[in-house]
């Protein structure tokens, strides 16, 4: 049972890949790149899903994939043009296919009604030429038999024992034939006797070959020149539409199932592939086969590895780095000279360990494509729901980032794209009236910038309606009515909890949790989100995220003898508080005048219970930090040790979450140090002192829930 389950698991993983391939391919075709390669890739994707689904008896999936495949096959053979309408049908079909796969994965039942429309659309496409297609055609098991409607050379080849005795090989002959054009080969096994009667020296097999090639009979005869007299050879020219030709009836074995040959391909593609791969072509193989082998090798160059194994390795390498640091420390302590061979060897070891660490981290890195690929479908759905015309442009899909980051940016991105279409873009009529094309554009871009990944979602819509945002914020009690705000401040109001400008709550967005949730989930990843908006021109949301969640840049500080790490992302400034800037607000709260405001000071050691007497701020080091909601505070420490990158270790795995502490790490001396949760520290202080904003917080919380 277990092994079947794991095969099933692999099948679904492959389905995901194939669906991605399909989506990418259709996207390419949509942009006008109707290369035979792309069409073949799309066809193969559907074909593979169908094949796999057949093994698991997923009949509905197989049926749908088959209909889909049949239609695609017509494109492949140039019988159907890739018009935008056709591509739209294909995109919808791809969505349905993905739904089928998901239903099968969760053992759910798929609602067939939804697929009915698309099926009829697909059938309509296959039957636009009434002479060629009928409904029965769709029920054929093998799409390849469709080839028989074209004129072809019909070759019956029956080798005698002498053929093999002379060292000839049927396979080579068939390959030579394939060089002339597209082949459909059936083997005839009807003459094979029972095993006890079988003479190993005799020949029982014969082949029926359909060659779709524009050549003379002589050229075909030339292929068989060396086996003349050693075989029975019949060559005849068959005009198209010979569906009733009994020679290709079951139970013939379809040779193509054995992967001896590539799927039938267009002759033009063959020559194109030949031109590209002449350099590395194995002379024994037809060129198109070589090009296929190349892609297969490329695909096989990856392996699937359980994420746990990679994580374990990352942990161990982290340990290695720490151990190496400890060893270096000991060597220095032992008074060994820096120039000694031991010290030099240690330097090399350090180099190696860093390199191993980088390589291991790179294993987890993946292109953001997997997330980006889900977006076209989302855009189609939201566009349909909102009656808007939307074009999605994507760039930088190959940008690599840690897998955990990829998994967790999917939801925020979904939200942002929904918002861009629902709130950002105007309806076609308004757009046309404003002198813009009726079709709105949403751009999704990923890029690396200074050690972080930046994801931008921009639209060419109306931009943020600042007057409305401000009115809404006032109405919701988020700001006072007489507040004067800069444009930037108004734009940022949309990130506040409980804010929503959509007058009607729609299915898509507008529940007033959208951007607030996006912001929180982005910040939970150690990222930031910002917005830039120009009225009438559109808005751009920019996400900036760390490349990995496994390491963190932190400031190492000491508080009452304890080593703590403050995430660098939260720190705005380091300060040395001066006596005259310190003011007492009440008996236990003091504020520091900095950056044009009064910022509360928090003695972290006291807050964490490491000491009971507050530190003298003038003798301490202060870090001005900003938490995710934008609240600032000054955290006081004894000393700053410096800045370093630390490996994040969970406290929860063996213990539990500790308030005020985000996680732990292991320092160079092998001891555990704690990473501060700046947000929790600021929040806990605010709660404890029951600030004036309290009613506001409660109000917004109520709205959120």
């Amino acid at each position: 049972m277990d092994s079947l389950d794991s095969i099933r698991e692999v099948f679904f993983q492959e389905c995901d890949e194939q669906l991605n391939e399909l989506e990418t391919g259709l996207g390419l075709i949509q942009t006008g790149a109707t290369l035979a390669d792309t069409i073949n890739a799309v066809f193969r994707a559907v074909h593979s899903i169908k094949g796999g689904a057949g093994i698991f008896g997923l009949d509905e999936l197989v049926n749908f994939a088959h209909i889909f495949e049949t239609t695609l096959d017509r494109i492949r053979r140039g019988e159907l043009a890739t018009s935008p309408q056709v591509i739209q049908v294909f995109l919808r079909a791809a969505d349905i296919l993905s739904d089928f796969v998901n239903a099968a994965r969760t053992d759910g039942v798929y609602n067939l009604a939804k697929s009915k429309t698309v099926i009829s659309e697909l059938k309509h496409l296959t039957s636009t030429d009434p002479a060629l297609a009928t409904d029965e055609r769709l029920d054929e098991v093998s799409a390849e038999t469709g080839l028989l409607k074209l004129p072809y050379w019909h070759i019956i080849f029956k080798p005698f024992p002498s053929l093999y005795a002379k060292g000839n090989e049927t396979m080579l002959l068939l390959r030579a034939l394939e060089r002339l054009g597209t082949l459909d080969v059936k083997i005839d096994v009807s003459n094979v006797p029972e095993l006890q009667n079988l003479d190993p020296e005799n020949t029982y097999l014969s082949w029926k070959i359909a060659l779709f090639a524009d050549c003379t009979e002589d050229i075909i005869r030339d292929v068989f020149e060396f086996v003349e007299g050693d075989c029975e050879l019949q060559i005849s020219w068959i005009e198209g539409d010979t569906k009733s030709d009994g020679t290709f009836e079951q139970p013939d074995i379809d040779m193509s199932k054995f992967e001896l040959f590539t799927l039938p391909q267009q002759v033009e593609e063959t020559s194109a592939a030949a031109a590209m791969s002449t350099n590395n072509a194995d002379q024994n193989l037809p060129d198109q086969q070589t090009s296929k082998t190349d892609t297969t090798q490329h695909v096989n160059a990856t392996i699937r590895v359980d994420l746990d194994r990679v994580d374990r390795m990352i942990n161990l390498v982290g340990e290695l780095v720490i151990n190496e640091a400890m060893l270096s420390q000991r060597v220095i302590e032992a008074g060994i000279a820096r120039t000694s061979s031991v010290a030099i060897a240690l330097d090399e070891l350090e180099h190696l360990t860093r390199e191993i660490q980088d390589s291991v981290m790179a294993i987890r890195a993946q292109p953001v494509r997997s997330v980006f690929q889900r977006m076209p479908r989302l855009v189609r759905e939201v566009a349909a729901q909102t009656n808007k015309q939307v074009r999605l442009l994507m760039d930088g899909e190959t940008t690599e980032v840690d897998k955990t980051v990829i998994e967790r940016i999917s939801d925020p991105l979904t939200h942002m794209i929904r918002n861009a279409i629902d709130h950002g873009l105007e309806s076609p009529e308004i757009r046309v009236a404003a002198g813009k094309p009726a079709e709105g554009t949403v751009r999704l871009v990923a890029l690396h910038r200074s050690g972080r990944i930046v994801v931008e979602v921009s639209d060419d819509g109306a931009g943020i309606n600042r007057a409305r945002v401000k009115a809404k914020a006032t109405e919701n009690g988020l700001i006072s009515s007489d507040a004067t705000l800069t444009d930037e401040e108004i734009d940022n109001l949309i990130f506040l909890p409980g804010f929503s400008t959509a007058s009607a709550v729609t299915d898509i967005s507008g529940r007033g949790v959208g951007m607030d949730v996006v912001r929180r989930s982005v910040q939970a990843l150690g990222g930031r989100i910002s917005i830039a908006s120009r009225p009438g021109k559109g808005s751009t949301f920019t996400l900036s995220l760390p490349l990995t969640l496994a390491v963190l840049d932190g400031m190492v500080v000491t508080a009452a003898g304890h080593t703590l790490i403050v995430p660098l992302g939260a720190i705005l400034e380091t300060l040395q508080p001066r006596e005259r800037d310190i003011h007492a607000l009440d008996h236990n709260i003091r504020v520091l005048a900095a950056r044009g405001g009064y910022i509360p000071m928090i003695d972290v050691a006291m807050l964490l219970g490491y000491r009971h007497q507050a530190i003298d701020p003038t003798k301490s080091v202060a870090l001005l930090v900003e938490c995710e909601s934008g609240t600032r505070a000054v955290l006081l420490y004894d000393t700053i040790q410096g800045q370093r990158q630390v490996v994040i270790k969970s406290l929860e795995s063996n213990y539990r979450a500790v308030p005020g502490i985000a996680a732990a790490t292991v320092m160079g001396d092998g001891r555990v140090a704690l990473i501060l949760d700046v947000d929790a520290i600021i929040t806990s202080t605010r709660m404890a002192t029951a600030r004036l904003e309290r009613p506001r917080i409660e109000q917004t919380l109520m709205e959120v829930s």
């Binding site: 942990n315 304890h562 080593t563 929860e652 063996n654 213990y655 500790v658 308030p659 001891r671 704690l674």
Partner: protein, 154 residues
């Protein structure tokens, strides 16, 4: 307490250790390793019996001071102290004890009931008593060693 899973005598071997003058034992199958004392990093707002956390080959391991947990007088650990790394459910914890003293074979019928006049604390942790060569060894159940919500959370 009756359907306790950890410290259950699946194997017939127990590992015995000393805390102050008293001897305790736990099921050897729950023990992952035994290591020397290294300085722990204390956690803020932690219960008194939680000495802090140490680095166990890359994992963060909480250290329980068993003597404090069992209501015995606490002493500052030295290099002679021992940490028993035990598996409780899917978590690992380090138990700070004075020394490991013995490995015992035992029979279920040899276990004496804990007298019910014992304090709640004792009855919470001690499954029974084992007489061994004139010594009395308490069989510990590790179910409640970690703070209750630590197990619930995970």
């Amino acid at each position: 307490m009756t359907n306790s899973t950890y410290g259950e005598p699946k194997s017939r071997e127990l590992i015995a250790f000393r805390i102050g003058e008293q001897e305790f034992c736990i099921n050897i199958m729950t023990v992952r390793e035994i290591r020397g004392w290294t300085a722990a990093t204390s956690l803020p707002h932690a219960p008194e019996y939680l000495r802090g956390v140490i680095n166990l080959r890359g994992a963060v391991l909480p250290i329980i001071d068993l003597s404090v947990r069992l209501g015995l007088p606490s002493t500052e650990p030295t290099e002679r102290n021992v940490i028993i790394v035990a598996q409780i459910a899917h978590q690992q914890v380090g138990l700070l004890v004075d020394a490991v003293s013995d490995i015992l074979n035992f029979n279920e019928e040899n276990i004496q009931q804990t007298p019910d006049i014992a304090s709640d604390l004792v009855r919470m942790f001690i499954r029974g008593l084992l007489p061994v060569e004139g010594r009395m060894i308490s069989l510990l159940s590790l179910d409640h060693v970690l703070p209750a919500d630590a197990l619930e959370d995970s």
